[in-house]
């Protein structure tokens, strides 16, 4: 009996699939190669998100590696990047409502974050973090695609389809 593997869902040929996936996540390779305009708008935003996640992880494991002031400066810098990044991406208000709403929320929180200090800053940090968790549930969770594995082998279900040839006996 054959074990069919879907001929459609294999990854497209590339010499170094894993390495290219890495380049995709870190540098947005395909966007850079084929859509430079959008790359220049979306890359700053994503770098902001990456830095923010890194920062949050450090917070969660309570590693106060740096002096509190340095930390505040770093946080302000990350917020600024996120702020301008989302501002840049906002041109997409014209193309997708769902994403735009997410962006506007990030934008407003980071704006407040930039203005905040001390304890307030910590609170804003938490708000952004929980918001990031929330948007993982929306379309913005597209990053998950890089980690998903597609089931390759399949079975066809004769019972479920109705066309005459499905049951015809050759």
């Amino acid at each position: 009996m054959i074990k069919p593997i879907c001929p459609w869902i294999q990854p497209i040929y590339s010499e170094n699939y894993e390495q290219q996936k890495f380049l995709e996540i870190i540098f947005f390779r395909k966007l850079f190669l084929h859509n430079k305009f959008l790359w220049s708008l979306s890359y700053p935003f994503h770098i902001g998100v990456y830095l923010f996640i890194l920062w949050s992880i450090l917070h969660i494991i309570s590693v106060h590696l740096m002096h509190l002031e340095i930390e505040a400066i770093f946080y302000a810098a990350v917020s600024l990047i996120l702020f301008f990044g989302s501002l840049l991406l906002l041109y997409r208000l014209f193309t997708s409502l769902e994403e735009s709403i997410n962006l506007v929320i990030i934008l407003s929180i980071t704006t407040l974050g930039i203005l905040a200090e001390g304890f307030l800053l910590f609170i804003f940090h938490l708000i952004i973090f929980s918001f990031l968790l929330f948007i993982f549930l929306t379309k913005l969770s597209h990053f998950l695609l890089f980690f998903g594995k597609v089931k390759k082998s399949f079975k066809v279900n004769f019972e479920k389809w109705n066309a005459p040839h499905i049951r015809y006996d050759r």
Partner: protein, 408 residues
């Protein structure tokens, strides 16, 4: 009506798309859903699709089908959906460009599948092709006697063209290689099969043809059931003859249909094998002293990753090999992919829309030469490319190798 072309002529009944997204019924429901859900509308794929690039029509955008499909997820009657699905070559260039590797080609293919598996609605050329193939072994309906006559003709023709006597092995048991080809080649490009015969005999391979069936599998483009039935049939032929492996000849979609499947029978493309032979055989590249460019069939190159062997072969057997641009995995589809090559009613679409980018590419690569020799290692590509213009002469990789052979 979305445009002036027609791929199917049946009346479309009311339909509910639920089944397409039901994981029990459709084993491709997950990638389909993912591709619909996560598209960020970045439009990078627009720049990849030759059909959109050559027409600039909104309805030919890779993401347009997804948009309509999302709207129609509930009950609807929309005869345009199936037509839209046949405005795509399933070439997957959009997937290569998409930052998230989303499958707009697969969406088109799944829409085709839905209508075929649910209502039996598909272009006649495709469905009749699979039915004939399951009945006779050949999508053209060729009989065993007809096949044997063609083999006899080939032996005579080879004696005339190459001046050598050969006995073509047919249905030989326990051979090392079973060579399967596109049946279309037996009718319209017999020289391609003859080239295989000449090369294999010259190299002294232990091989055979089968009278029981050809390599074609139209099911790949529109129906899982027909696809699987034909795959099973191909493997059955190999089991009956007890061969060591199947070598798929110059037919792109047959590569894609048969090679990725898991089975105890080994299957491989003819290109790496040919490269191995070319290294051993005595050849004279001056026999092919005309400028020739190489077309990369999507199924063999982008979808299976066989990129280098054909280039190495051409560099060895042609004295003036010129690459077209873009090439390799970035190639443009010939315009006949996904079954469009064999649907006669889509001829105008091919000429006016889908082959345009390929035509430009060929003209750019060979602009200084009156005759445009294009080497296309796929039967359907050859058919479509030679249809584009009279200036173009389409040949296969095997033809060039056979032509360069030195006989004592």
């Amino acid at each position: 009506m979305i445009d002036e072309y027609r791929a199917v002529d049946e009346e479309i009944p009311n339909f509910e798309l639920k089944k397409l997204f039901d994981r029990e019924a459709n084993w491709l429901a997950v990638p389909l859903e993912v591709s619909l859900k996560y598209c960020t509308n970045c439009k990078t794929c627009d720049k990849a699709c030759h059909i959109y690039l050559s027409s600039k029509k909104e309805i030919y955008k890779p993401t347009y089908r997804a948009k309509i499909l999302k709207k129609l997820k509930k009950q609807n009657k929309n005869s345009n959906l199936i037509e839209l699905a046949y405005r795509c070559n399933l070439c997957m260039r959009c997937k290569l460009f998409c930052p998230l590797s989303l499958e707009n080609g697969l969406i088109a293919r799944e829409i085709r599948k839905f209508f075929s598996q649910e209502f039996g609605i598909a272009p006649k050329a495709l469905h009749e092709g699979t039915v004939k193939q399951l009945n006779t072994g050949y999508h053209t309906g060729l009989s065993v006697d007809g096949f044997k006559n063609i083999v006899k003709f080939m032996e005579e023709d080879i004696a005339e063209r190459f001046g050598i006597e050969v006995k073509i092995p047919v249905d030989k048991k326990r051979a090392e290689i079973l060579l399967i080809n596109n049946a279309g080649d037996f009718f319209s490009r017999i020289e391609c099969i003859e080239s295989f015969v000449v090369i294999f005999e010259k190299a002294g391979l232990d091989w055979t043809l089968s009278s029981k069936g050809d390599a074609v599998n139209y099911g790949l483009w529109y129906d899982d059931f027909q696809y699987l039935r034909i795959v099973e049939r191909h493997l059955e032929i190999a089991r009956e003859l007890d061969v060591e492996k199947i070598v798929v000849g110059e037919c792109g979609h047959a590569h894609k249909a048969l090679i990725p499947v898991e089975s105890e029978i080994k299957r491989e493309s003819y290109l790496p094998l040919l490269w191995k032979l070319v290294k051993e055989l005595e050849l004279d590249p001056e026999k092919n002293n005309f400028p020739v460019t190489l077309h990369d069939p999507c199924n063999i190159v982008r979808k299976l990753g066989i990129v280098e062997p054909q280039r190495k072969i051409l560099k060895k057997v042609c004295s003036k090999f010129i690459e077209m641009n873009p090439n390799g995995i970035y190639n443009y589809c010939c315009g006949g992919g996904g079954g469009l090559a064999v649907i006669d009613s889509m001829r105008d679409f091919r000429i006016k829309v889908s082959t345009k980018m390929k035509f430009e590419q060929i003209m750019n690569a060979l602009k200084n030469f009156p005759k445009k020799y294009v080497c296309a290692p796929c039967s359907n590509c050859k058919r479509v490319i030679s249809e584009i213009s009279e200036e173009i002469v389409c040949v296969g990789v095997v033809d060039l190798v056979a032509n360069a052979l030195i006989f004592d």
